[in-house]
Amino acid sequence: MVHVALPGRTPPYVLAYVNLDDGPRVLAHVTGVSQRLAVGARVSLQLPDEGGDVTVAAAGPG
């Protein structure tokens, strides 16, 4: 979770390196969370948001 301000970004926001099941490793914004994800957590890839960011969502229960 990033707390420092960068141009065009409003903190805090959560970033994660995500290893896709078939590769590669991508940097993504994690949506809908208020703290960082645990290493090894599964996520699902979302459509890019209007700003063009690669986003993932934490996989829900089940």
């Binding site: 994660a16 914004h29 290493v39």
Partner: protein
Amino acid sequence: MSAHIWGVGTSMFGKQPERSTAELVWTAVTEALRDADVGSVEAVYVGSCFGEPGIAQRSLLRMGIVGLPITVMESACASSTHAFHEATTAVQLGRYGSVLVVGVEHLTSRFRGAIPVEQRDPEGRAGLALPALYAMAAAHYQDVYGLTGRQLAAVSVKNHAHGALNERAQYGHPVTLREVLASPPVADPLTLLQCCAISDGAAALVIGSGRRSQRDVSVRASAFGTGGLWNEDSPHVWGFDLVRRTAQQAYDSAGLGIDDIDVLEVHDAFTIGEIVTTEALGMAAVGHGWELLESGRTRLGGAAPVNPSGGLLSRGHPLGATGAAQIAELVWQLRGDAGRRQTPCRTALVETMGGGVGGIDGNACVVGILAA
């Protein structure tokens, strides 16, 4: 030809907006030339990261250092260690008999806060500031190896204790574990006192051919590499593979190993950086770097002190000046001139890491091995 460090010098480190870039360079270069007892050199290699066009010539001309080959190198935080590597190589190959290495950075005139990210880089555009990249490594260590917040913060406490003994350091005072942990969050789990601050400074080295006296320090090895692709195939955090590979080259070249090293200056731009780097250098197994702090091995008074100068966290991190400043500290240590920071030593290791480009595990890394 064998390369030796004949002289070293530095400016003060810290936020110095009232001083020009040139003034910082004059201070460092004057000290280094006097220390080396030479009036001139055959070439100048300059390391700077955010320096403006012409920074080298503009800084050097009023010292009368003109008319000779001047080359500027950029490898992010490792810029002047890169310049040191190339100067060493040039002397070893007989291209020059003496080379002045200058590292300089004037960050207060460039930006405030975290280093700006490059919008044309996908990771920069996503908002991955350098503290966030290192925080990702720290989070990985917490979840995979059980590294605690206190173990992480111990790096800052140790290096600020060292820096309190260094009159040129940006921070001249120790900090407590409680202060480090209670400082504002930057990128989870890194707090402000676990991140190096904006800094201005310069450092200079004279690299020459041959050993003229016992004060000259031998460059036993110098290795320079750039990052490989950092992808799902690497089980290691960012930077680890590059540091390990570069260190191995340096060990092979010197015919030495980590157990032969008595004192180190390594890249602790963020607390996790020192832990990962000491593991990559072979001082501890992966996931066990924190034990070096707990046992006291890497503290002044321990068997192999790491960052006796205070490191980037306390001495300060004017990017382009850092590598030459690290080497200056090791030269003082090897000569027995380090005053209150002195540790018994014969052999020393410097490591600097530059980052900021997405997709690879480091812009550049330099590892050098020096001997008294």
